[in-house]
């Protein structure tokens, strides 16, 4: 994958849990495209229609808390979200997102620096987010090398196909 991303910001609040991202009634689904039809349904049922490929989800604290359902990360990735930037993430969602090849970046000041619809330019390796709408720039701690490796392969499945003894 490309380590430079540019997309429009969709802002959400604190404690966006995985029940809100994909409600429990859809957990029987196993097809990624069908799961994606319900991305963010608990907050904004029209999100899948409005979001464009490469757009960036911006969250507050504890993004992805709650259930371990990978459906949440699958839905965001499959609907075209290019990255999730949040003040902090819940552990299991964070891991699921990396495993699926969806960049997740912890950036403490992101909510106050970004407005809904702002255009963001993200440098995964350099650890920088530039808000092209306002000109402001933020830094974040870059992802550890092995996570970047997994992202660059497009996720853990592709990564393990290449490196079968590592997981």
């Amino acid at each position: 994958m490309n380590t430079r991303l540019e997309g429009k910001a969709w802002k959400f609040g604190d404690d966006v849990n995985t029940d809100l991202i994909v409600p429990g009634k859809y957990l029987e689904l196993v097809n990624y495209s069908e799961i994606a039809l319900h991305a963010m349904e608990g907050i904004d049922p029209d999100f899948p229609k409005k979001v464009r490929k490469g757009d960036i989800v911006v969250g507050g604290r504890n993004f992805g808390c709650g259930s371990s359902r990978e459906h949440a990360a699958i839905a965001l990735k499959q609907v075209g979200v290019g990255a999730v930037i949040a003040e902090s993430f819940a552990r299991i969602f964070y891991r699921n997102a990396i495993n699926l090849g969806l960049p997740v970046l912890e950036c403490p000041a992101i909510v106050e620096t970004v407005g809904e619809g702002d255009i963001l330019d993200v440098d995964l390796i350099g650890g920088k987010v530039k808000n092209k709408t306002t000109g402001r720039e933020l830094v974040f701690v870059p992802l550890p090398g092995f996570m970047v490796d997994i992202l660059e392969e497009g996720g853990l499945v592709a990564y393990l196909k290449k490196h079968k003894d590592e997981c």
């Binding site: 709650g66 552990r91 699921n96």
Partner: protein, 419 residues
């Protein structure tokens, strides 16, 4: 420098003498558990990674529990495909729809031991820490790699020690303790950390109560919840396992990120108010709130002692005419014990609906949904918006005693105030 329980278990599982919080280890897994709704994604991931067989057919455990029995064609198909997989892989442990909630079934059927590293494709896998195991939830892709290789990478967590001392007042339960702790620590206060529960109150608790504590570690973002094993633990596991244990205890000079002390003597029943688990208030602040449904069950509070306290409160009383009470034993074993002791009859006669063991009512699955504008009080673990049906419903979390008392009165009620 001493080690915490988590550091010791992860050192053993990764073949090292010592580990420290913050290190990343590659650990060997003792048990890998999958419930029905995440199994297919995990199997697909395993196959796509190029693994044809699971690494150990004795260590992979599948429980068909979330939609049990299947209520939709999709769920029926998921169950059918899982059964085929289990047959094809000659898995030794597939618990079908009659069994119960995975976190109750695993310890009952002898899959959990002190010192084990347990991973499950369900966030409440932390429940098994009640037996002195390090148990944590993962997603399906991680689980695909785990069932293919038996290994996973884990960051050794820092530990928050929670010491609870004193005697819990009448009708104040382990659930009230953990709700109080969640209110203190917050919904992300334990993210990436383990919670170790100790102190005299925890030593005095049943295994069932300890499971309630550990179950909700994830509601604070916790990676694991742990109670050190003792005679009660071994007694529960006797006859369920081979009885050979390698228990792990914390060193006196272990390093904690934070120590929280809770005084049990002064605790009153606690209620987590909508829509966040850490929005916790003492019951005196919310009593009188109208409810439409009370649910007693789940991996948090669907065990025999939970049903017993509910039955004792409903004895000689009846569910309020404007409310309904749904009781779901957490497993077949619990159900049978409750039948033998006359609890199920008492609950039914008091106006409860008693359903077969499943997760459905907890997560907005196939039973017990709330309509728009309705209010539920539940003994389960999450009160997220939309969790139990409509996003316009309100969900309060409480103990079985509070849920039962509220069902009787039709409003949130402190069981000590019942007429």
């Amino acid at each position: 420098m001493g080690m915490t329980v988590s550091e010791k278990i992860l050192a053993r599982a990764s073949g090292q003498e010592k580990t420290r919080a913050g290190e990343i280890v590659k650990a060997e897994v003792d048990v890998a558990m999958m419930p029905d709704l995440t199994t297919i994604l995990s199997i697909n991931a395993m196959r796509e990674m190029g693994f044809r067989r699971v690494w150990d057919r004795d260590k992979v455990v599948i429980v068909l529990d979330h939609v049990a029995p299947a209520s939709t064609l999709l769920a029926a198909t998921v169950h059918r495909d899982i059964r085929e997989f289990a047959r094809d892989q000659s898995l030794k442990h597939l618990y079908d729809v009659d069994s119960g909630v995975c976190h109750q079934v695993l310890p009952e059927r002898g899959h959990i031991k002190p010192g084990y590293l347990v991973v499950g494709a369900d966030s409440h896998t932390c429940t098994h820490g009640a037996f002195g195991a390090f148990a944590t939830g993962v997603g399906s892709t991680d689980m695909g790699a785990i069932i293919g290789t038996g290994k996973t990478w884990l960051r050794v967590p820092e530990t928050i020690r929670v010491d609870v001392d004193g005697k819990l007042p009448e009708y104040v339960a382990p659930k009230d303790v953990i709700l109080y702790i969640a209110g203190q620590i917050g919904a992300d206060g334990a993210t990436y950390k383990a919670l170790e529960f100790g102190g005299g109150t925890v030593s005095g608790m049943s295994v069932s109560g300890r499971m309630t504590l550990c179950n909700m570690a994830i509601e604070m973002g916790g990676k694991a919840g742990i109670v050190e094993p003792d005679e009660k633990t071994f007694k529960f596991l006797e006859g369920r396992t081979d009885g050979i244990f390698d228990p792990v205890y914390v060193d006196e000079d272990a390093t904690y990120k934070r120590v929280l002390r809770v005084d049990a003597d002064t605790l009153e029943p606690q209620v987590a108010c909508p829509h966040k688990v850490d929005n916790v208030k003492p019951i005196s602040e919310v009593s009188g709130t109208r409810i439409n449904q009370a649910f007693i069950g789940s991996c948090t509070n669907g065990r025999l002692e939970d049903l017993l306290v509910a039955a004792s409160i409903l004895d000689g009383r009846h569910v309020h005419r404007d409310a309904r009470l749904l009781v779901v034993p957490a497993s077949k074993e619990v159900y049978l014990q409750a039948l033998d002791r006359g609890i199920i009859r008492s609950l039914l006669e008091a106006g409860a609906v008693v359903s077969n063991p499943s997760c459905g009512a907890c997560f907005g699955g196939h039973i017990g949904l709330l309509a728009p504008g309705e209010v539920g009080i539940t003994t389960s673990n999450r009160n997220f918006k939309g969790r139990q049906g409509s996003p316009e419903a309100l969900v309060y979390l409480a103990s079985p005693a509070v849920a039962a008392a509220s069902a009787v009165m039709g409003v949130i009620t402190d069981p000590r105030d019942l007429p």
